[in-house]
Amino acid sequence: LPFALLLLLGFSSPLSAHRRDEYLQAARLALDPSAVQLELALTPGIAVADAVFIEVDRNGDGLVTAAEQRAYAAQVLAGITLSVDGTSIQMEPAGLIFPEREMIQRGEGTIHLRYNAALPRLLDGEHHLVFQNRYPGDIGVFLANALVPDTDRIAVVAQRRDFTQRDLTIDFVLRGAPASSTAMWFSGLVGLIVGVFLTRSARGFIHAPTGLR
């Protein structure tokens, strides 16, 4: 029964999830010590669906090709900025899923875009990641949230937003690698040295008969 209930609740929302004249843009940011992943879920309402589709379908043939999807992902990205401690970060497209046109036209289609960005080397301590979404300005409504980090090396201590959620600042603390990881790294280094030594020994052993010929 709980499973059925969850299923019912889980699927009940999209059936009635008709947005109207807004373009919902939900951003989720996942932080790790060396990278940021940005996921965007873009849901145009019924009244703006055609306008969004026209932007995606650049040649107007009613079909959305892979090239048009990539171009749209780049267009969205052009309206987004990301920085850490005041230093701009370059994001790269890392994945996209486009719904069928009919889904978009019903206000039920969500475009999923994913971008990755490498962080500069950060010292232990507090840092600030600033996300700004300026695409598109007039019909957009926005959500922006940090996900709980997968590692305990990062702790999100605060999220600050403007009223519209176009701007999100994530205050986070980076901690050093735990002792166990350092020990593993040291063990790995020792293993590498031993491995190289054994490989060289083995080569010597293999080459020896050749040298005797």
Binding site: L9, S13, R161, D162, Q165
Partner: protein
């Protein structure tokens, strides 16, 4: 509940930005957002009772055999449960709220400033879509 909070509690519970829709709606399985709002442990016993009563409107709509242990599990995570609010605080106003704990996420999101069209979701992040029951 929001009107039962004092000024200090309200400052913690009320988000200073608009939440136009569900943050973890359908398709967002397995994701956990950073909790925001006021910790349930910062609520008085009577306020906590009100919050659990709200949670029960979602988590309790099943057989008592299932609902009681489920609510007990949710209550056991008091320290790590949060209540957040966005929007006006007068009764009947379209306002967003969220109750989030280790085994619970409830979101209530009126659409386009109207209580006539509500999006809501109830999740157990440790058992999204009954994953535990089917062994995934």
């Amino acid at each position: 509940l929001i009107n039962a909070l004092d000024d200090t509690q309200r400052r913690q519970a009320i988000l200073g930005f608009r939440v136009a829709d569900l943050v973890l709606g359908p398709g967002q399985d397995g994701r956990t957002i950073q909790p925001e709002g006021i910790r349930a442990s910062a609520l008085s016993p009577s306020q906590q009772t009100m919050m659990w009563s709200i949670a029960e409107e979602w988590a309790g709509i099943m057989n008592t055999v299932f609902a009681e242990p489920r609510m007990a599990e949710i209550r056991s995570n008091l320290r790590d449960t949060y209540f957040a609010w966005s929007g006006p605080t007068t009764n009947g106003s379209p306002a967003y709220f969220r109750i989030q704990g280790p085994t619970l996420l409830i979101e209530y999101a009126p659409q386009q400033d109207s209580v006539d069209h509500i999006h809501t979701i109830y999740r157990d992040p440790t058992n999204d879509y009954g994953a535990k029951f089917v062994g995934k």
